[in-house]
């Protein structure tokens, strides 16, 4: 399976949910020739020691057998292509993971299907999300708090709401010229 960037984003979002976040910010941007990917949460956060270990492929805080490869893969991808991975975290405050990858590098992973990967996660969770897609000339954002206010008792996973959000997201990706990678 190709580890596209949508997959990495979903991985980071799931880490945030597991950290007990109430609010998750997801940003994907094309900025000065670089792809910026940022996931920030207000979950439990990590001690400095854990942050240092977080990109070690043989380290995981999760119970069970799986090794925590998510961040390790992302760091490896970013650094091999001349980019970077930055993790800021504070216990009780939350965690911010930010990756930068040269946009035009031939080995940059494709964006993948951002809509099909992110939308189900966000629509079926009780956590609030802010989603931001942008480049130098266009910005698109989605705030689940605003959506919930507009929708009242109607859930985000309502079929008609979901297909509306899917349309909106796909249009935004088209406006950004990111659609062909889906």
């Amino acid at each position: 399976m190709v580890e596209d960037l949508a997959f990495h984003l979903a991985d980071l979002v799931e880490n945030a949910l597991r950290a007990g976040a109430r609010q998750v910010d997801v940003e994907l941007a094309k900025e000065g020739g670089e792809l910026l990917l940022r996931v920030e949460d207000d979950g439990v956060g990590m001690e400095e020691e854990v942050v240092r270990q977080a990109t070690d492929p043989f380290f995981t805080t999760k119970p069970g057998r799986r090794v925590g490869l998510g961040l390790a893969f992302l760091r490896q991808t970013a650094e091999e292509l001349g980019g970077s991975l930055l993790i800021r975290s504070a216990p009780g405050k939350g965690t911010c993971v930010q990756a930068r990858i040269p946009w035009d590098h031939p080995d940059r992973p494709p964006l993948g299907d951002l809509v099909a990967t992110l939308l189900p996660l966000l629509a079926t969770s009780s956590v609030e999300f802010r989603l931001l897609f942008r480049d130098d000339r266009y910005t698109w954002s989605l705030d689940t708090r605003e959506l919930r206010t507009a929708l009242g008792a109607v859930p985000l996973a309502d079929p008609e709401v979901l297909s509306f959000l899917e349309r909106e997201m796909r249009q935004a990706l088209e406006a950004l010229g990111w659609k062909e990678e889906g």
């Binding site: 099909a116 507009a150 008609e160 709401v161 979901l162 509306f164």
Partner: protein, 122 residues
């Protein structure tokens, strides 16, 4: 974001909710813990949303939850109905679609993936 369009969706959805007196008839809960995700829970969640959407089942609420402690049987899907909770295990995409079509729509339990059937007070 076209909030005007959302308001129209809300009006339509609320009108339908009034017809069935407000409550979702069925809640489908997908286990999205680490082992569930490794075993394909993301695809399962997506398939359930698609199936519910295609059938326009507005009285079905789809949500997710974390680890359930039955890692060997993940992905797990629970169907909550008045009076009972049905737990399915080893759910793949095809089974997820069957849960919607056979159980949620037609009320038939899928014996081949049944892990637990719990009666709950209504």
């Amino acid at each position: 974001m076209k909030l005007e369009e959302l308001r129209k969706i809300r009006e339509r959805a609320e009108a339908e909710m009034r017809l069935r007196t407000g409550q979702a008839r069925v809640k489908i809960v997908v286990g999205m813990g680490t082992s569930g995700i490794a075993a394909g829970a993301r695809q399962v969640l997506r398939a359930i949303l698609e199936e519910v959407g295609q059938r326009n089942l507005r009285d079905v609420l789809v949500t997710q939850t974390g680890e359930k402690g039955l890692a060997a049987k993940e992905p797990l899907v629970e169907v909550h109905e008045p009076g009972r909770i049905t737990v399915y295990g080893d759910v793949d995409e095809a089974t997820a679609r069957r849960i919607v079509a056979e159980h949620v729509v037609n009320g038939r339990i899928l014996e081949d993936h049944l892990v637990e059937l719990r009666e709950v007070p209504t």
